[in-house]
Structures are given as C-alpha cells and as structure tokens.
Amino acid sequence: MKLAVCVKEVLDSRLPLQVVAQTGEVAHLGSERVALINPSDRAALEVSLILRDQNPGSRVEVFSACAAGEEDALYFAVARGADSVERLVQNGHLAGPPYTALLLANRFANEKFDLICCGDETLDNSSAMVGPLIAELLDYPQVTGVTKVRECSRGKLLAERSLDRGHRELVEMELPGVATFKIEAAEPRYVSVRRLEQARRREIAVRQLDIEPSKSRLPGWPGSEKKVPPRARVKKKFTPDANLPPAERVKMIMAGGMAPQQSSQSSAILEGDPDYLSEQLFRFLRHHEFV
C-alpha cells in the first residue's frame, strides 16, 4: 500500500502570538519562533505509519507545500519514520489553501497513491478545505473528520467519524481515496530531540510544479466569497440553576439550556461496586443519549 500524508508547519498557539501590522503576518510575541507539525496532520501521519507497519511492503511518503525555512513538519515526519519527504513549490506566488490543494493534487496526479491522508484542519487557517479539494480535483472519494480507522485493506477503508451527541458514523470508502483525520484519530508518539536533530541533517527533496490556476475551478481565498455569519439572535445567556443536581445541570448544558425540566426520576444516588456503578452510569448516559 502506498500512503501519502500532507502536512503543514504551524506556530505553537500556546505561546503568545501577535499580528505584525506591516505584513499582516502572525508571529510569536517576543520569544523565538516555535513551530510544530499541525496537530491533526500529526495524527494523520501517525495513522499512516501504523497502517504501514500493519501492512508489510507499504510506504509512507510525506508532502508539504511550503516555503523554504518552513520545513519543520517534514523534519518531524522524517524523525517519526516516514519513508520519504518532499517539499512542493509552485512557479507563481499564489498562496492559500486552494492553491495548496491544487499543488498537492497535481503531484498526486503524476503518481498514484492508495490513500491520501490529511489533517482535517490546520491551527492557523482552519479552512478544512485542502483534503476535500484534493479529492475533488483528482476525482477521488473522500471521508472527512475521521476519528478512528477500523480497517484498511483490500482496497477499502473502514473508518469512524464522530457526530453530535456522541454518535458515531461508520463509513466505508473505496481506495484510492482521500481521508482527513481529527486529532483524536491516533495517539501520536513522542519524537525525541536527538531524533529530531538527526532528521534535521537530512536534505529535503524539493519539487517544482507548474500549475495554471486559471484552468481549474477553485474557490477563492481569502474573502472573495464573503462568509456572512448568521445574525445572532438575542438570547438570554444560559446558566444552569445551581440548585439542580449535577446530572440535571450537565443535561441542561448539553442541550444548550433547552432541556425541559424533568420529574424527580432524572437523578439518583447509586451505591455499589465499581462494575455495577459503571454499568448503571452507562445505562443512564445511554438513556439520555449522552453516548
């Protein structure tokens, strides 16, 4: 199986950030620049590496459409055990998620991969469009927001997506296809500084692609199509009544304050051994559709 992973380097959002007025760019306040691999890309990478190890003879190739000096995510992929990494650059200066997708799709048009894995969205742009766009451009099937891979073999991917209220959806997709992953899709492994520094010594392959955006049908970015947020309705801010039992409060919060007050039956104090308690708790949650 051949697996492609698309990754991007982002700034560590847990450090204070600022927008530089002149350039409009986001940078770290004061301290040095701390970049990391986008968390959901990291999950996508981890999923592919696990799939590779489960299917002997597989390869994981990692791609990033980025400028020189922004290869941190690629170095991370090397350190984590990717078979090859490649940085994609284009001839023009077109930036933004649609062009990233175009560039990547161009690359994958030349060489067939069974599964193309992306993070579902990045920390910075949060457009969540690169993965789906790649699929559209290549005319591949896609599944977005995967939280768990059940199985991936014999030309099929069986994956879970999570929906509202704890519901899950099981999706089957024919390969080749594109999947985007949420952070919780895999518990990523630690990459020690020793390995990272060893990876940094590696030369990263660069591939230049000529793309003609005029021929493709791409959505604009940013702002050519204005997103009009729905007008906020005036609503009293909801706070659950502090006198209610905890279970009641949780339920009200989950339902956005809309849950009708139920009779006294809705809360109970249970006692017993852990097995019994967890069983009862699960029933309760199930009954009220928390899970």
Binding site: D12, R14, L15, P16, L29, G30, S31, V34, L36, R80, E187, P188, R189, Y190, V191, S192, V193, R194, R195, L196, E197, Q198
Partner: protein, 660 residues
C-alpha cells in the same frame, strides 16, 4: 621429641590424589568456561566512556575491602557476610599452604608456624560455618521478606555447609587416629577426635571413615569450584570486577547517553554498556536495593533487584545460545517499571557491590523515549519543555511574573554582582514554591548580599528532560544556559532547588573543569547565619521540627549538615529526626519526572513520607527543596491534614524568624 607437623596427605592413596587434582582442574575449567561465555556477551555491550586504569581499579577494590563502608548498614547481614567471606578465605589459604608444602620443594609447615596456622584455620572454619548458619537462620527461620528463598540458594548454602562440616570431620578422623598432643591447637578437630575416640570406634574403622570423608570433601569442593560462576555464586568473582571498574563520577550526575546518533534503539541489551551487563552479573540478589526503593515499597511495578536480575538473565540467555536474535530488555522489563523510578538513588547507595542500579533504568527509559512509546503525560511534559522551556508548560513570558512587584535587580551588561540567584522553574511558576523565592529574596536583601536574577533569561536546567530520558533536550538546555552564563560572565550561582543545584554542579561541566561555582541556598543560609549576617531571634509558633532530606541535596550531593544547621538555629525549636533520615532518607516521590507523571501502585510515596514525618510528633516539616515541599503539601492536603502539620522550606523559616 616428636616433630610438630603432620604428614600431608596422610592416608591418601595415589588414585585419590589423582581424583582430587583432575576434578579440581575440571571444576575450575568449567567455571572459567561459563564465565568466559558471559564475558563474551558482556563484550557485545557498548563501550562506556570510561577509561579502565589498573591502579585505580586496585585502589577501588582495596578501599572496598578495607572500609566495608556499606555492610555495617545492616548489622546482621554484615557480620554474616564477613564471617562467610573471611572464613572462606582463610580455609582457602590453608588448603593452598598444604598444597604448597606437598607439591613444591618449599618446606615450612612445621613448628610454631604449623601450630599457629592450624589454630587459625580452625578458627576460619568455625567462622565459615557460623556465618552460614546465620544465613540459614535469616532465610528460613526469620524469613526476611526481601530474600527470596529459591531452591538454588538453598542448594548452594547446603553445599557450603557440607564442605565445612566434612572438612572438620576430616581433621577429626585424622587426629583421632594419630592423636598427637600438640594438635590441641586445632581445637575443633581435636574435640571431634576425642568424641570419636569416646564413641569407641576402632582405628581401622576410623581410617576407613577418614578415607570416605576425604573423598566426599574433595567431591564437594570440586562441585563448589564448578559452580563458582552460577547464580548468585557468580558474584564472588564478578562483584570484585564491578567494584574495580566503578566509574569515577559525581553521585548525582547521570551518565551520558552513549547510543550513536544513527542507531535506532530497540531495547537490545547490547545497547547497554558492557559495564551494565557485567554489573548485572555481579548482583548478589541481596535485595537491599528493593527494600529501600520508594517505588517497590509503595506497591508499584518497579523492583530494582528484579530489573538487574532480568538483565542478568538476558545475558545468560544469550550466552547459552549460538546466534539467536538479540535479546531485548523490553521482553521482560515493562515500561511501567521503568517509569516508576524517582531517581532517588537509594538503591545505588545501598548496593553492597556498587551496582549503578537506576542508571540502567534511566538508560532504558532513554531508549523508550527514542522509540517514542511513552505515556501521554510524559509526552506532554517533554513537548512542553521543548517548546516552553519549563516542565509546567507555562508560557515562558510569564517566568518573571511572580516577582513583578519585588523590583529585583536584573542582570545587565557591565554589572558584575557577586551572586546570581537562580530561581528555577518551580520557584518561578509553582505557587507554593514561589513563596520560597520570595523568602530568599527577603533574606538576601536583609543580609545585604550583592545579587542579581536572570529573569526571563532563565530556562529549565534540563534536569527533568534528562531524567525523563530525553538526553538531546537536556543537552540543548545545557548549551543554551551555558551560553547565557558566558554572555553575562556569571561565576557564582546560588539556587534553592537541589535539582538545579545538582545539574549545575555535576552535569554542566561535561568532563571538564566547572565554569562557575554553584551552591545550594542551605549552604548560603548556614554561612550567613554563622557569619552573623542574619540573626534569628523571633521565635516561631512551632516547638518541634523535623527535617526531610531532599535526595538531590543529601544522598546525591552529601549535604546533610548545612540545612540541619539552619534548622538548629531557629529559636525555640527542637529538631527531631525521622526514622529514615540523612543517607537513608526516603524520597518525597517527586524526582525523576514523577512530579509530572501519573503515579501507580497502592500508595503514594509522598503520603508514606508524610506519615513518617508525623510520627515524630513534630508539627512542622522543614525541607530544602521546592519539589519536596510541593509533594509533601499535596500529601497533606489529600489526607485532609493541612492544619495539623505544616510544610515549609528552610528559607521561609529563616525569613519568618529573622531579626529585621
């Protein structure tokens, strides 16, 4: 006058002699062959960065034999081991003398020498048997928990006892036949002879019995030689090597990670150093490490002896196999075990044969980290360290926030103050440790000490990174901090954190000369008090105080006196010691990264320690480490007892009682 000597090999025929010599030769050969197989496996380990020097090795062994420094820590065991070892050595020398007398032209075994030697050899035999009976008593009657009564141990003990008993009988038979008066000096043999005579045995019978016993004694001794390199007998030889090759390095310094950057670790035992493998074979299985380990004694998965023995077992498995796959330490040693260690160093301190127990644990942890299979908590902590330069994952910009209102003297170009006061991550971010930093600033100002702080130029020293197994991260911290120190010309540092202190003192010199001087605040405080720079006059509310020794101040760096001196200067307060204090102090549970990791097992280390502190009756626990303070405070809060016993750093106590 009869000649005072005896006929060597009396009553021994030629074939008996042949049996003895051939057998003994074969026994030694078997033992040597077994050892050489293990030696070949040791050699497969990586070479540690230590030079082997013969004079130093000899000095190590000599010092070890002479001071027996560690044995008296357990009186009974010490005496037992002393009797067995020296009894054995005397008997061995005695046998060698007999051999020399007979097989070489030397002739010395007569007259006074004969008398003295005979008496001493009998004494040795008595010591040997006495020691062995003590061992039997301990294992089978007292049933010491830490000693596992395995069948092997029982068999080997029985073998040694049999050798001792048949040896004495041999002497008894011989004397009972010849009965020379001067043999009274061989008091045991003579006594036995008298008894045999009294038993009414005829001379012919005694001669026959002597012969049978001689054969038995010879056979048992041959077996002993043959078995000298199995199981815990192996330590007789290997422990001498492990002591001889003991590396010179400060107790508190972890050794560097010596895996080459290209290698990918697999937990292979050959990623350990040959010294580690040799060490593992030197283990006497005495269990002293385990009996003091805070992880084992609170019911966690880690058992340091088991780790060492499992390594030894892997060496053995590889030795008995031609070209099998390389054994991996992770086949038998679980991740959980490796992550339970607090690096308190109690095991190394206790080990009678100087095995670096927890260094092996940390080395395996390093491999786990390199493989990337670590817990979410550990990953979070290490990634936070890398990006935010402190293990608590606070934004680095907030490092100086605690001191905003204090108007601290910051380091600046051209300024050459005497001291740099290093706050450390705990002192900067952790609320209950910030009060230590405040107290220290208060004291330094009161004593008019010329000091500056580095403010937001501080970053973690790398201690947690190193002890959690990311050596590369530690080195990055070390390089950056050294660079800061050089840039500002820092030459004297005082810190209230024993972990920072230890790392600066022992791990920042990298084999060379230290670039700066570092002292712990307990040392500075005790100096300021004795110089009269600060005077403690206001008496505190508490009357009794007990002092908890931080591992990285005490056991790892040998500083027990300074903090005690500070505590003793507190007016109106009496110091009481806990059952385990000073070198034997019990960890607070916070070292080795445990501060940020999940705790497993039945009990928490800090709770055990707090209970011990409360048993002294003191209403105040003084310590000299922010980690110990936080851990013990947590214990006191979770036990719902924060009103009953207070936990304070010595600097806080000084600041409270100091005359202003």
């Amino acid at each position: 006058m009869e000649q005072i000597t005896r006929q060597i090999e009396w009553n021994v025929t030629l074939w008996m002699q042949v049996f003895l010599y051939v057998g003994a030769f074969a026994g030694v050969l078997i033992a040597g062959w077994r050892l050489s197989k293990r030696y070949r496996v040791w050699k497969l380990g990586r070479s540690p960065n230590v030079q082997v020097s013969i004079p130093r090795s000899l000095a190590n062994v000599l010092a070890w034999i002479l001071n027996r420094g560690k044995m008296p820590r357990d009186g009974f065991a010490s005496l037992m081991h002393f009797l067995i070892l020296w009894g054995f050595i005397i008997l061995f020398i005695g046998t060698t003398l007999v051999f020399l007398e007979q097989q070489t032209p030397l002739h010395f075994f007569y007259g006074t020498f004969y008398l003295v030697a005979s008496a001493v050899i009998d004494l040795g035999g008595v010591a040997f048997l006495l020691g062995l009976s003590m061992a039997v008593y301990r294992r089978y009657l007292q049933k010491k928990e830490r000693l596992k009564a395995s069948a092997w141990v029982g068999a080997l003990l029985a073998l040694m006892i049999a050798i001792g008993v048949t040896g004495f009988l041999l002497e008894g038979f011989r004397i009972s036949v010849t009965m020379p008066g001067f043999e009274k000096v061989s008091f045991v043999g003579y006594g036995l002879a008298l008894m045999l005579r009294a038993g009414g045995l005829a001379t012919a019978e005694l001669t026959r019995l002597h012969r049978a016993d001689w054969l038995l004694h010879a056979a048992l001794s041959i077996a002993f030689f043959g078995l000298a390199t199995v199981y815990f007998f192996r330590h007789i030889i290997v422990s001498v090597l492990s002591v001889a090759l003991r590396p010179i390095r400060a107790r508190g310094a972890l050794r560097p990670y010596e895996l080459s950057p290209q290698a990918s670790p697999s937990g292979s035992v050959f990623d350990m150093t040959w010294k580690d493998l040799l060490d593992a074979d030197a283990c006497t299985a005495c269990g002293r490490c385990t009996s003091v380990c805070p992880a084992t004694t609170t019911g966690k998965a880690l058992d340091p002896r088991a780790v060492v023995l499992k390594l030894s077992d892997l060496v053995g498995r590889h030795a008995s196999r031609r070209n099998g796959a390389t054994p991996s330490a992770f086949d038998t040693i679980t991740e959980r075990e490796l992550w339970d260690c607090t690096t308190c160093g109690a095991c190394v301190y206790e080990c009678p044969v100087d095995i670096e127990v927890f260094d092996k644990i940390i080395d395996l942890r390093r491999q786990l980290v390199d493989i990337g299979k670590i817990s979410t908590a550990a990953r979070g902590c290490l990634e936070g360290l890398e990006r935010r330069q402190n293990p608590w994952d606070y934004p680095p910009a907030q490092r100086a926030t605690w001191s905003e209102t204090l108007n601290l003297p910051a380091i600046a170009a051209g300024k050459k103050p005497e001291w740099v006061y290093w706050i450390g991550c705990a002192g900067a971010f952790e609320p209950s440790a910030q009060s230590i930093s405040r107290a220290m600033v208060d004291i330094l100002r009161q004593a008019k000490v010329d000091f500056v702080v580095l403010g937001s130029e501080e970053r973690c020293t790398g201690d947690p990174a190193r002890r959690m197994g990311d050596e590369g991260l530690f080195q990055r911290f070390r390089n950056k901090n050294l660079e800061t120190f050089r840039r500002h010309g820092v030459h004297k540092i005082v810190t209230h954190c024993p972990h920072c202190f230890n790392t600066f003192k022992n791990e920042y010199r990298n084999g060379g000369e230290p670039e700066f001087e570092v002292i712990h605040h307990s040392q500075l405080l005790s100096h300021l008090i004795s110089e009269g720079k600060i005077r403690l006059t206001r008496s505190a509310a508490d009357k009794q105080v007990t002092f908890h020794d931080p591992c990285y101040l005490g056991r790892h760096n040998g500083e027990f006196a300074a903090p005690r001196k500070v505590v003793d200067s507190l007016p109106g307060m009496k110091r009481v010691e806990m059952t385990r204090s000073r070198e034997k102090s019990f960890c607070c549970g916070g070292g080795g990264g445990q501060m940020w990791l999940e705790s497993s097992g039945q009990q928490r280390v800090e709770n055990v320690r707090l209970t011990e502190a409360r048993q002294t009756g003191a209403s105040l626990v003084a310590t000299a480490c922010p980690f110990c303070k936080v851990m013990l405070e947590t214990a006191s809060v979770t036990a719902g007892r924060q009103d009953q016993v207070k936990i304070k750093d010595i600097s806080e106590l000084v600041s409270e009682t100091m005359e202003r």
